[in-house]
């Protein structure tokens, strides 16, 4: 038990840790806490499942092809020189 982090602190920083958004020092503290604390390790697994599920949602929806080609047309039109009277 070398970790001086308590469970509440660990849980609050769990997402930051899983998203690799925390400082190396904090990451080390959380890692240590998770090694020492089974309930928090379980909680980390739970949050990992949540994050993986939400990340996978990106693959379920995208820009429809019709909208994509509409946008391409609009862009090409915007890039054309305006009709001049010459």
């Amino acid at each position: 038990m070398s970790s001086d982090m308590d469970c509440n602190e660990a849980v609050e920083a769990l997402h930051e840790f899983l998203r690799q958004e925390c400082t190396p020092e904090l990451a080390q503290q959380i890692k240590q806490h998770l090694e020492d604390c089974r309930p928090c390790l379980g909680h980390a697994q739970f949050e990992k499942s949540y994050l993986a599920m939400l990340e996978s949602m990106a693959g379920t929806q995208g820009c429809p092809d019709s909208v994509r080609s509409q946008i391409l047309d609009a862009l090409r039109k915007a890039a054309e020189p305006p009709p001049s009277g010459d």
Binding site: E21, A58, P64, A74, A79
Partner: protein, 188 residues
């Protein structure tokens, strides 16, 4: 003024790969497909006209999303900003995990919920929460980029995300119980 062809090509090369992200985020902001289509198209045209202000090699996706967000706020949002719901603030951060901990400690129930229900739960979040959840947890944007885009301090992004995830997990948990994916705990 005609944009030089090389700028058209570089815009298309850098911006078009982000159309799926732009469309998903537009759908969360705008609420329906028709408005999302208009919002994405307006965003792309604005971005194209402003392309020379974009610094090559920086984060094109964050740049485009910022234009999309500003366009939505300035031109699409009908109602004034809704206050963020804080109803769940009193809930213990461990509550959801504790509620499922015995029956589904690894959170497998998340994967059983159908996509449409997950999107519906995200769309039901208050706007401030929905925005950070989508940018961070669905699109994988870094917290710092979200803070710059939304115009709030990093700490605000973190605390919003913390509360938003709790609220979303709570909604998904209730749905999972309703559908029988997990058993409700008597002691919640």
């Amino acid at each position: 003024m005609k944009a030089p062809p090389e700028s058209t090509a570089s815009f298309e090369a850098e911006a078009l790969p982000h159309l799926d992200t732009l469309y998903r985020v537009a759908l969360r902001f705008a609420g329906d497909h028709a408005r999302a289509e208009d919002l994405v198209q307006d965003t792309m045209l604005k971005a194209f006209r402003a392309w020379k202000t974009y610094t090559q090699g920086t984060n094109a996706r964050a740049w485009l999303l910022t234009i999309l967000r500003n366009t939505f706020i300035n031109e699409y949002r009908k109602e004034s900003r809704q206050p963020t719901a804080v109803a769940l603030d009193a809930v213990d951060p461990l509550a959801i995990y504790r509620a499922v901990g015995h029956t589904d400690p690894e959170g497998r129930f998340f994967d059983r919920i159908i996509d449409d229900r997950v999107w519906a739960a995200i769309d039901a979040l208050p706007e401030d929460f929905r925005e950070v959840i989508v940018l961070s947890d669905v699109e994988g944007m870094a917290y710092g980029d979200i803070a710059r885009m939304v115009g709030v301090p990093l700490g605000t992004v973190k605390s919003r995300l913390f509360r938003a995830r709790r609220q979303l997990q709570g909604a998904l948990y209730e749905h999972a119980v309703e559908m029988g994916y997990i058993r409700a705990q008597e002691a919640r």
